[in-house]
Subunit: 159 residues, 2 copies
């Protein structure tokens, strides 16, 4: 099974495609979609939708995993983030890709073993789990790898 | 010029197509997209995106007008609303439709003449302005008519 992990943002969105086969997890691709700097929000959302869908066509993931969000910490950015999540959900749903959500602490627990861990620690553990030559960068791509990894080793609940 | 007003929601989304020609404003259509009750959010967003885009194909609006949102009043619902706005923005932007935003008090001022007015008063004034036989219903459709009307008589700023 191929899964796509996404770390949504309205400036950069991290993505990672992982494949699980014969109980082994393999990295197919990961990276960041950089949205047009200074462009109006609708334009960036359309670019995000289009580029993510192009990647989905290439890797044909069965499922998409996202972090669930809590508005409480950064209400204004969570509101804008909602727009990016909407664009991503439409892209996936229209291709019949199942969508799953995980709380950030679930993602950390799955990768590091504890719900409290620094981003650096998560990236280092992801490097180990996935046999990467170095810790994945940038941070958005590392987060996307962690979410996809978490999904593959958990039984997630649909969004 | 044909404009589309939208009152976004993740359960019901109101829409209204108005045409301005020879300084007269004419109602082409208005109504509500009812999203599948109890369906997961991604499914409702995809339905919203798809049905709105189908309407855009029929009426070919040049511009879309939305109310701007302020998270402060209802943070959790604003966050979810962000998802619907993202789906709507992607639908419009991918068809080359310009997107404009108005603060709720601007919409009231444009329709009623004051920034503070009840929904009923807005609906009654919209009925008068657009020569409708009765006040438009349901509320989401009336709001969409008001936003489209506001856009046609204002010089809006792009989103």
């Amino acid at each position: 099974m191929i899964v796509l992990g996404v770390d949504p943002g309205t400036h950069r969105t991290g993505y990672a495609f992982l494949e699980k086969r014969d109980n082994r997890i393999r990295v197919l691709e990961y990276g960041v979609i950089r949205l047009k700097d200074g462009a109006p929000l609708p334009l960036r959302l359309e670019q995000l939708h289009r580029e993510l869908q192009a990647l989905m066509v290439v890797y044909d993931p069965a499922q998409l995993a996202l972090e669930s969000i809590f508005f409480a910490r950064f209400p204004q950015s969570a509101l804008i983030l909602g727009h990016a999540r909407g664009a991503i959900m439409v892209a996936a749903q229209s291709m019949g890709i199942g969508i799953f959500e995980y709380a950030p602490r679930m993602v950390k627990k799955a990768t590091v073993g504890t719900g409290r861990a620094s981003k650096e620690r998560v990236a280092a553990m992801i490097q180990t789990h996935l046999g990467l030559k170095q810790p994945p960068t940038p941070a958005d791509a590392a987060d996307a790898l962690a979410i996809a990894f978490c999904h593959l080793i958990q039984a997630g609940k649909p969004a």
